[in-house]
Symmetry: C3
């Protein structure tokens, strides 16, 4: 059994979902691991992870819009307002989604369903550089 | 350290929670693993996973009803409507719950609490056949 | 590759977030593991886990207040009321957050971001003693 860690940077351009499946898959290819477990971990509390449909781009737009309605940017509701009106809603949207996802690896590939993609979910308005840690455990 | 993967199929009869703890436990028994980590991964974006109380069946009915109110099937709210009025809400309900859960294994058994069960959460109205990947890592 | 399991108890004083990063880190230090994967698993369905900002305490208060508004304690909405008005909302709030989180370990430390802390999220009004299972897999 072997393990590897790696870090990827995701440059975001404001709120929305950014697919990172390709970046993850590229790194996996070089690892030589056939069967194993990949863990994706985002090092932030105002951006998160989700596995979503990667076929119709309307899905991720609707998802982003839903979270905008569910967690409104209304500063009167929050005590934590010093980092801007979008910061506290960003923490809540992160708590409602994932900070970490683990995906089995079979025959050297992520065991994702046909329409599944891994997304970084940016919850802040301003562009950010997000850091994602990958941990891979497995055998050739 | 050894690892195993397996796939289970869950036949759903429309929206609701379907307990899969028994199916998972049956497979674990045959593995010979005493201490380890089990990962459950659903290969869909309109069905998800949750660990919930398995004592009073009203709990899972209330849970299903809550998600029905929180994410209404109102096509005017969504752009992605081609797959029916329940499809986009299904993606959102999946994002709000889990695509993956990992559970430690101790003395050959899942370290679940007394009242915890693993459920597949079907978010679509029509019956589906859902595919769940299991990955187990551990030692005898 | 080696693995270890451990159990920590968290005494809660009613609804809110309780940081457990320190308790986890203390146990990790004694393990001698440098690179690996830590899994945190809560054995309850009315308390959960979340990774949140540990800088401004207002963040966790706002988060707790948001979940209070999102999942109201209104018994007319639920069938499962026998365990008190806060029990069914507690199950829903658990489903909306996490029962399990896995965090990579690098150079003997959790690969958390600068502002990330691991929290137990208590959803019940009365103090409880919560059981959290830790599973660690890795190499020196």
């Amino acid at each position: 059994m072997r393990q590897f860690t790696h870090r990827i940077q995701v440059a975001t351009r404001g709120k929305g979902l950014y697919e990172i499946t390709g970046q993850i898959a590229s790194w996996l290819e070089g690892s030589g691991i056939g069967t194993g477990l990949l863990t994706v971990f985002v090092q932030h509390t105002s951006a998160s992870l989700t596995i979503q449909e990667n076929a119709d781009p309307d899905v991720i737009d609707d998802l982003n819009a839903f979270f905008g309605r569910l967690v409104p940017e209304d500063s009167r509701r929050y005590r934590h307002t010093v980092e801007g009106p979008d910061d506290m809603p960003a923490h809540i949207r992160s708590a409602l989604t994932q900070t970490q996802v683990s995906i089995p690896l079979e025959r050297g590939r992520l065991a994702l369903g046909t329409w599944q993609g891994v997304y970084l979910f940016e919850h802040r308005s301003v562009p950010h550089r997000r850091s994602v840690v990958l941990h891979l455990l497995g055998e050739p």
